[in-house]
C-alpha cells in the first residue's frame, strides 16, 4: 500500500482464500497447516501476480478512487464466489496443538499464537532484509519514493508493482495456514481483518515494515487493555479514534521517519 499508493480493499478476501486453501488441504489431503504454508505461499503469490496484471495495472495512472472501487468490486466477487462454492459454513480444523499452551509460572502462552508471533517477526525481518539488500528490494523502495525518477533510472515499474503486490498476497499465504488451527473460516471473514490492517499500516508509517509490526502490537495492546478496563464493544472505537489522531498530528505515522510526509 505504501509502495504502490494503492488501498486494496480485497486484502481481507485474500486472507479468506488463504484460510480456505489451508482448510481444504487439511480436509482432503490431511496436510498439517504448518506444512501447507509451503503450498499456499506460491499459490497466493501467483494469485497476486494475476490480480495485479489484470485488475490493478489498468487502474494505475487513473484517478485514485478507481482502484479503491475496483478492489471493492473484487472483494464482493470473491466473498460471493466463496459462498457459492463452499457455502456459508464455519469451517474449522482440529489439530491437537490448537489449544496447547506453554506455561511460565502464572503466565500461560498459547503455542500456536506464539508461533504466529515468531513467524511474523521473522517474516518482517526477512522483508526488511529484502528491501534493503536485494536489487529488487531497492527498486521497490526507489519506486515508492519517487515513481518517475525510478523509471528514469531504468527500473521496470510494472515489474516492481507486480512483485510488490504479489509479495503482499504471499504474506497472506503465510498468515492463513498459521491462523487456521486457532481460527475458523467463512466467506465474509476478511472484512474484520482488513480495517485493522489499514490502521496498523498507516499508524506505523506507510512503507515501513518495522513501523507496521510495532503498530500492530500497539493496537493489540490497546485492544486488550481497553477491552479489559472499558467495554469490549468499545475497543474498536478506541483504536479508530487513535488512528484519526495519528493521521492528523503525525501523518508520517507513529514510527514513521520524520520528513517522509505523504
Amino acid at each position: 500500500m505504501g509502495v504502490m499508493d494503492i488501498t486494496n480493499f480485497a486484502h481481507g478476501e485474500y486472507l479468506m482464500l488463504s484460510l480456505y486453501a489451508s482448510f481444504w488441504l487439511f480436509e482432503f489431503f490431511h496436510i498439517d497447516p504448518y506444512l501447507s504454508v509451503l503450498l499456499v505461499i506460491p499459490l497466493m503469490f501467483l494469485l497476486g501476480l494475476l490480480t495485479e496484471k489484470f485488475l490493478i495495472r489498468p487502474t494505475i495512472g487513473k484517478p485514485m478512487f478507481i482502484h479503491i472501487f475496483v478492489t471493492l468490486g473484487l472483494s464482493v466477487i470473491l466473498q460471493n464466489l466463496a459462498l457459492l462454492l463452499w457455502s456459508g459454513n464455519f469451517r474449522t480444523i482440529q489439530v491437537p496443538f490448537a489449544t496447547h499452551t506453554i506455561n511460565f509460572g502464572d503466565i500461560s502462552i498459547s503455542t500456536p499464537r506464539l508461533i504466529i508471533f515468531m513467524v511474523t517477526l521473522t517474516v518482517a525481518y526477512l522483508i526488511h532484509l529484502f528491501l534493503n539488500y536485494t536489487w529488487m528490494g531497492k527498486a521497490i523502495r526507489a519506486t515508492s519514493q519517487n515513481r518517475n525518477s525510478a523509471q528514469l533510472m531504468g527500473i521496470n515499474i510494472n515489474r516492481v508493482f507486480m512483485v510488490t503486490f504479489a509479495l503482499g498476497t504471499a504474506c497472506l499465504g503465510i498468515a492463513g495456514p498459521l491462523l487456521m488451527p486457532i481460527y475458523y473460516v467463512y466467506p465474509t471473514i476478511g472484512f474484520q481483518f482488513v480495517l485493522v490492517a489499514f490502521v496498523a499500516v498507516v499508524m506505523g508509517g506507510l512503507g515501513s515494515v518495522k513501523g507496521a509490526v510495532l503498530a500492530s502490537m500497539l493496537i493489540g495492546i490497546i485492544e486488550t487493555l481497553s477491552g479489559y478496563f472499558l467495554d469490549p464493544a468499545m475497543k474498536q472505537a478506541i483504536y479508530f479514534l487513535l488512528f484519526i489522531l495519528v493521521l492528523i498530528f503525525k501523518p508520517s505515522g507513529i514510527f514513521g521517519e520524520e520528513g517522509k510526509v505523504v
Binding site: D5, T7, L55, P58, T59, K62, P63, M64, F65, I66, I68, F69, V70, L72, G73, L74, V76, I77, Q79, N80, L81, L83, L84, G88, P187, L195, F198, V199, V202, D231, A233, M234, Q236, A237, F240, L241, F243, I244, L247, I248, P251, V262
Partner: protein, 327 residues
C-alpha cells in the same frame, strides 16, 4: 457552445423524467419501491458528490451522517413524539455540525488519508450506535410506529414517499447546479485541481470545504430521515454500515463525478440493476447476483473511469458540433 451544452442537459433531464413518468403512474408497490430507492440514492450520492466530486475530498464515512439523521428523527419521534419533519431538521442540523467539525479536523489530510480517516469516523459512529444502548437501543434498532398522515411523515401509499424522494433529489440537484456556477463551487474545484495555486491567489479553499462539508452532512442526514420513515425500522447495520458509505461514491463515480447530474445517472443505472439481479437470481444460486454485480462494476470502472454521464455529454457535444459544421 455553452448554451448547447446546457441545452443538452435540459434534454437529458427531460428524458429522465420521461423514463420516470411511466413508473410514477404505475400503482405497483414494487416499482414504486425501486423508484423511491433510486431517487433517494440519486439524492444521497449527489450529496456526497458536493464534497467528493467538486472538491475531490473523498469521504468514505458518509453513512455516519445518514445514520445521525435517521437516528435523530426516529428517536425523537419514538421517545418524545416529535414529528419527523422537525426531527429531520434537528438531525440534519446536528449532522451539519458534526460535518463541519469533522471537516475542520480532517481537511488537512489528502488523498487516501482523508478517505481512511472518514472511514474510521464512520466506524466510530457505528460502534457508538451499537454500544450506547440506553439511547439508541443498540442493535435491536428503533421501530417507528406512527399512524399514517402528513404530520407523521408516514403514508400508506408508496407514491407519497416517491414524491418526497423526488423533491429531495431535486433539492440536491439544485444545490449542485448552484455550486456549478457560484464562487463557492469554483473554490472547491480550485482546491481539487491545484490547491497551492488557489491559495497563492488568495482563495480560502479550507473555509469553502468546511462550509460544503456542513451542507453535505445536512442533506445526507435529511435523506436518513426519509429512509427511516420509509422503512419504519432502523438499526445500526441498515443505516450506518460501511456498505452505505461506499455506495454513495460508487454511484457518483459510475455516473460521473463533479457535476449535478452524474449521480442521478449513476443511481438510475445501478439501483434498478442490483434489485433486478437480486430478484431474478437471488435464490437460484446464493451470491451469484452479487458476483455478476461485482464483475459489471469492475468492467464499467475500468472502461469508463470518467463516468457515464460526462462520456455521454462529451459525445453529444461532439455530435452537435458536427451537426453545426454541416450546416
Amino acid at each position: 457552445m455553452l448554451e448547447k451544452i446546457i441545452n443538452n442537459k435540459v434534454k437529458i433531464i427531460a428524458f429522465l423524467i420521461f423514463v420516470i413518468a411511466p413508473s410514477l403512474l404505475s400503482k405497483d408497490d414494487f416499482y414504486a419501491g425501486i423508484l423511491f430507492q433510486t431517487l433517494l440514492w440519486a439524492g444521497m450520492s449527489g450529496t456526497w458528490n458536493l464534497l467528493g466530486g467538486y472538491a475531490g475530498q473523498f469521504s468514505l464515512g458518509h453513512a455516519a451522517f445518514f445514520g445521525i439523521g435517521a437516528y435523530t428523527s426516529s428517536l425523537l419521534a419514538s421517545g418524545l413524539h416529535l414529528t419527523p419533519w422537525l426531527g429531520m431538521l434537528a438531525g440534519a442540523s446536528l449532522s451539519a455540525m458534526v460535518g463541519v467539525i469533522l471537516g475542520a479536523i480532517c481537511f488537512r489530510l489528502r488523498g487516501h488519508f482523508f478517505s481512511l480517516a472518514t472511514l474510521a469516523f464512520g466506524q466510530i459512529v457505528y460502534i457508538i450506535a451499537l454500544s450506547w444502548r440506553s439511547v439508541t437501543n443498540g442493535s435491536e434498532g428503533v421501530l417507528i410506529m406512527s399512524s399514517p398522515g402528513w404530520s407523521e411523515m408516514a403514508f400508506n401509499s408508496k407514491m407519497a414517499y416517491v414524491y418526497l424522494a423526488l423533491i429531495y433529489m431535486l433539492i440536491v440537484v439544485g444545490v449542485s447546479f448552484y455550486l456549478d456556477r457560484s464562487r463557492l463551487g469554483y473554490f472547491l474545484v480550485a482546491y481539487r485541481e491545484n490547491d497551492e495555486a488557489a491559495r497563492a491567489i488568495g482563495v480560502n479553499t479550507f473555509l469553502a470545504r468546511v462550509i460544503v462539508s456542513g451542507i453535505s452532512a445536512f442533506l445526507m442526514a435529511a435523506g436518513g430521515t426519509l429512509y427511516a420513515q420509509y422503512m419504519y425500522y432502523i438499526d445500526p447495520d441498515s443505516v450506518l454500515s460501511i456498505a452505505l458509505s461506499v455506495q454513495a461514491p460508487l454511484i457518483a463515480i459510475v455516473g460521473g463525478l463533479g457535476g449535478a447530474l452524474g449521480p442521478v445517472f449513476g443511481s438510475f443505472l445501478i439501483l434498478p440493476m442490483t434489485q433486478m439481479l437480486r430478484a431474478w437470481l437471488g435464490t437460484s444460486f446464493s451470491g451469484l447476483h452479487l458476483i455478476i454485480y461485482g464483475v459489471i462494476l469492475i468492467v464499467v470502472l475500468l472502461l469508463i473511469p470518467e463516468g457515464i454521464f460526462p462520456k455521454l455529454t462529451e459525445y453529444l457535444k461532439k455530435r452537435t458540433e458536427k451537426e453545426n459544421s454541416k450546416c
